[in-house]
């Protein structure tokens, strides 16, 4: 970013003073001050549950604070609704998009826009969208229906929608959580261009690298309170991490355990994706006891299908899967579970958990079949509860309140709960997909530690991750998937980020 450092930002765009917001007794924001200047990208950093989304929603008019003041452009305002905020030029791209799937991009842009009359010509709209898109690197086809777009493209539409309404203060709530590394880079370029044009950007994240890479200033929240604010030029990752978590983080060192016998062999497996095209082709992977094999690759290159084929949720077209000497290619998911297969799925909330059920039920999702949780067809609720208490303590799962839906837990706690369930079944093979995606620093540490301990205890782990750092930290061997095929297979000491990056982009070593 060296050549494009903007002029010193000046002029107050927005100021929040003493914002407090409680949700049914939980303090989401407590006396938070925040100020934003024109022309800057201001990162809002904090762990999950720190209150970032709440603070943004207050500025975007979605929530009314219990107390505190909002000043825009120097004037005190009262924002009654997101609409009023939009009238003041404040707009937010929410963590969960709010587009209408069936509508086209153009229709979504004009939806609810007061000035778009009935007669606004489609051509002029498309021209404006095209212009905005080119200027800020937000190209999308105006005629495409939203459901046809990738997540990254949908995000562009969200941003375009706000720009089209003349928003000058743009809030993005964890925009990179759903993006590939490449898409994130593009987004950063867009944000920089928007800021250079004098807009003010709030960029919410819990990733330190992103703060360092893109923000001019950073404000750190912890447990609903502001714990620090500084220009990024004066910040360093270690300080930010300490502010964010409230303590120093230890670095995991993986002591090497000698790998044992092969436990999982995937032999020449080909399988189709949801659209009937071959999603993985002739994949060969072998995982030994005590070994962590990392599968690297950009999302959408067959990772999900690979995990599903191994766990029995998808039928392979060709090839063979052997686990502990048994051919499980045609086995049901249940048979595989009984043979000792554990699975941490990528989609935690819908696949890994039944989000609407209490945690105790979710922790029992696999163990309910045997005593002590059940005898014959009859379930023991008491045993289920007891087991849940034990696992909560053992795996440090926090925030559990009785029969509350599991979906109310934070991402880190949900992931701990999934691991608690899978590891307590003493698996021989564990497939872990995106095990730490979207989690905060402390949770990431805890989850990685659990995986390492599990491998040391003899489990064969197949870890699928887009996070190169994670792959390099944990794996004994790295496999790179590209367009459904294994590009290469490297022992840990031969794998480095540059090489992996190249392979992930589909370029073989020779071509480099």
């Amino acid at each position: 970013m060296a050549e494009s450092v903007p002029e010193v930002p000046s002029g107050e765009a927005a100021r929040l003073a003493g914002i407090t917001k409680h949700f049914f007794g939980v303090a989401a924001n407590e006396d938070v001050d925040f100020d934003l200047r024109w022309g800057e990208i201001h990162a809002l950093l904090g762990e999950n549950g720190a209150g970032k989304s709440t603070l943004c929603s207050v500025l975007a008019g979605l929530y009314h604070p219990d107390s505190g003041e909002i000043h825009l452009d120097g004037d005190r305002v009262d924002l009654g609704s997101p609409h009023q905020a939009l009238d003041h030029g404040v707009g937010m791209v929410y963590q969960h998009f709010r587009l209408v799937d069936r509508f086209t991009v153009a229709e979504n842009l004009t939806l609810g826009h007061p000035e778009t009359g009935f007669f606004t010509s489609r051509r002029s709209l498309e021209r404006q969208v095209g212009e905005l898109g080119r200027r800020y690197g937000l190209e999308v086809s105006p005629q495409a229906a939203v459901w046809q777009l990738s997540v990254g493209e949908q995000q562009r539409v969200e941003i375009l929608k706000l720009l089209y309404r003349g928003v000058r203060i743009l809030i993005l709530d964890e925009p990179t959580a759903v993006l590939t590394p490449q898409e994130s880079q593009n987004l950063f370029g867009t944000l920089r261009a928007l800021a250079d044009d004098g807009r003010a950007i709030i960029f919410v994240t819990h990733k330190l690298d992103e703060v360092m890479a893109v923000a001019d200033r950073v404000t750190v929240l912890r447990d609903g309170r502001k714990v620090g604010a500084m220009p990024t030029s004066e910040a360093d990752p270690a300080t930010l991490a300490r502010l964010m978590v409230g303590r120093d983080l230890s670095v995991t060192e993986r002591p090497r355990t000698a790998p044992g016998e092969p436990v999982l062999s995937i032999k020449g497996v080909t399988a189709e994706g949801d659209r009937g095209l071959e999603a993985i082709r002739d994949v060969e992977i072998e995982v030994r006891a005590s070994q962590i094999v990392g599968v690297a690759g950009v999302a959408g290159n067959g990772q999900r299908e690979l995990a599903e084929v191994v766990t029995g949720l998808r039928r392979p077209k060709r090839g063979q899967i052997i686990m502990g000497g048994v051919d499980i290619t045609r086995s049901t998911t249940l048979e595989r579970i009984k043979l000792g297969l554990g699975f941490v799925p990528e989609d935690r909330m819908r696949t890994g958990m039944a989000g609407g059920l209490p945690l105790a039920a979710n922790l029992a999702l696999k163990a309910y079949r045997q005593p002590p949780l059940s005898k014959g067809p009859v379930l023991s609720k008491q045993a289920m509860e007891d087991r849940a208490r034990t696992l909560e303590k053992q795996f440090d799962i926090r925030g559990v309140r009785g029969a509350l839906p599991t979906s109310l837990l934070s991402g880190g706690n949900i992931q701990r709960a999934i691991l608690a369930r899978e590891l307590s079944a003493r698996p021989r093979v564990l497939v872990a997909a995106a095990p730490t995606r979207g989690l905060d620093v402390a949770a990431i540490q805890a989850i990685r530690q659990l995986l390492i301990e599990e491998a040391d205890a003899g489990t064969a782990i197949l870890m699928i991750s887009e996070d190169l750092e994670e792959i390099l930290d944990l794996s004994d061997e790295v496999i790179v998937l590209y367009e459904g095929q294994v590009m290469d297979r490297l022992p840990r000491d031969r794998a480095d980020p540059d090489l992996l990056g190249m392979l992930m982009a589909g370029r073989g070593v020779d071509a480099a």
Partner: protein, 373 residues
């Protein structure tokens, strides 16, 4: 979401978990509101709401005849209500209780006519009821199999099958000289009556033991949903089919079994109606919408098996009182109207369970707000 009204602002926030008080107040308030709206409509149409309501209570509950009459009507509603509870709990929408109930009646009357007095009372009755349940289950399977294995929409298939069932029943009595039809009555077609030994025993007046069977099944369903692996799998599948698949459950078989249990309950209800009340296949008495009302009952009971009992009795008391109201010059449609209003109010109440509304003053110093919901 929020809405400004002058200096006030209404803010809506979702309530992840409603408090105990709210969970109790919302339905109580909904029922009360339904009666208030009903009263307003009565007043608007020149009726005396007080008179209407007292009559409804009197004709529905006061005295042996009123009470047993209400309970007799409630019995099949408990079965169709339970049928809806079981399937709706899994978010599989069996709208076909009506047809399953009818085919249950067809099968049990058929078996009753077939066994005659050859096997004796108790065994004959059991055979009739088993046949009713089986027919309901198999009829539900017609929708369940394509739903489980081809992922067709069960709402449409179960709904359409209602008309098929109705057609079959009408054909057997009105358009053919079938085994079910009384050949002696050519001009005014009716179903043949089963032997007296096959009548369900009566307890008080005309009130038959079907009510006890209904209560027993309520307990069984409650227990099965709460304390069995089957109920656990149903709950997980209902909340997230993907999570169910992932944890090794067979979602297709679950859909099949749940829809068939649901159909069996409705079919058993039909069998009990034949054994306890009608004693023949009577298309007029069997096409009053018991299956559809069961859906309303289940919804009002918020899918709780035990909730089905009081709701079924309340709704049954309305129907029981309707003819009596007409005598007083109050149109009996008021009863259907009340049912509808009740349904709408409960749906609205459900919304209040999930969302909190706060009224705030927008002017004045920050912090001076009056939460009121």
């Amino acid at each position: 979401m929020s809405l400004s009204l002058g200096s006030r602002r209404l803010t809506v926030e979702s309530r992840p978990v409603p408090s105990r008080l709210v969970r109790f107040l919302a339905p109580t308030f909904s029922v009360a509101l339904a009666f208030v709206i009903g009263a307003l409509i009565l007043v608007a149409t020149g009726q005396d709401p007080l008179l209407a309501y007292t009559e409804m209570i009197r004709k529905g509950f006061v005295g042996r005849l009123a009470l047993t009459g209400t309970l007799i009507i409630a019995t099949p509603l408990i079965f169709t209500g339970l049928a809806a509870v079981v399937s709706f709990r899994m978010k599989v929408w069996n709208i076909g209780a009506e047809g399953q109930f009818i085919l249950g009646a067809v099968a049990s009357s058929g078996v009753g006519l077939w066994v005659g007095d050859q096997v004796g009372g108790p065994l004959g009755i059991v055979l009739m009821l088993v046949a009713g349940a089986l027919a309901g289950a198999l009829f539900a399977a017609l929708a369940a199999l394509p739903r489980a294995y081809l992922n067709t929409d069960e709402v449409i298939s179960t709904l359409m099958l209602n008309f098929v069932a109705l057609g079959i029943m009408n054909y057997l009595i009105f358009s053919s000289f079938s085994f079910w039809r009384d050949p002696g009555r050519a001009t005014f077609p009716v179903g043949k009556f089963v032997e007296d030994v096959l009548f369900l025993p009566r307890m008080v007046g005309r009130l038959h033991v079907g009510l006890i069977i209904a209560l027993a099944f309520t307990v069984v369903i409650w227990w099965a949903l709460r304390y069995t692996k089957w109920g656990f799998e149903l709950m997980v599948t209902g909340d997230s089919p993907r999570a169910a698949l992932y944890s090794g459950m067979r979602v297709d078989r679950k859909i099949l079994s749940v829809l068939m249990v649901s159909g069996a309950l409705a079919g058993l209800g039909g069998g009990i109606e034949v054994g306890g009340v009608l004693h023949n296949l009577d298309p007029r008495a069997l096409s009053l919408g018991v299956g559809f009302t069961g859906i309303v009952v289940a919804a009002l009971a918020r899918l709780s098996p035990f909730g089905v009992i009081p709701v079924a009795i309340l709704v049954a008391s309305f129907s029981n009182a309707a003819p009596g109201l007409q005598v007083l010059g109050i149109p009996s449609e008021i009863v259907i109207l009340l049912e509808g209003i009740l349904f709408l109010c409960i749906v609205a109440g459900e919304w209040f369970l999930r969302n909190a509304i706060r009224v705030e003053r927008t002017a004045g110093p920050a912090g001076a707000e009056a939460p009121a919901s």
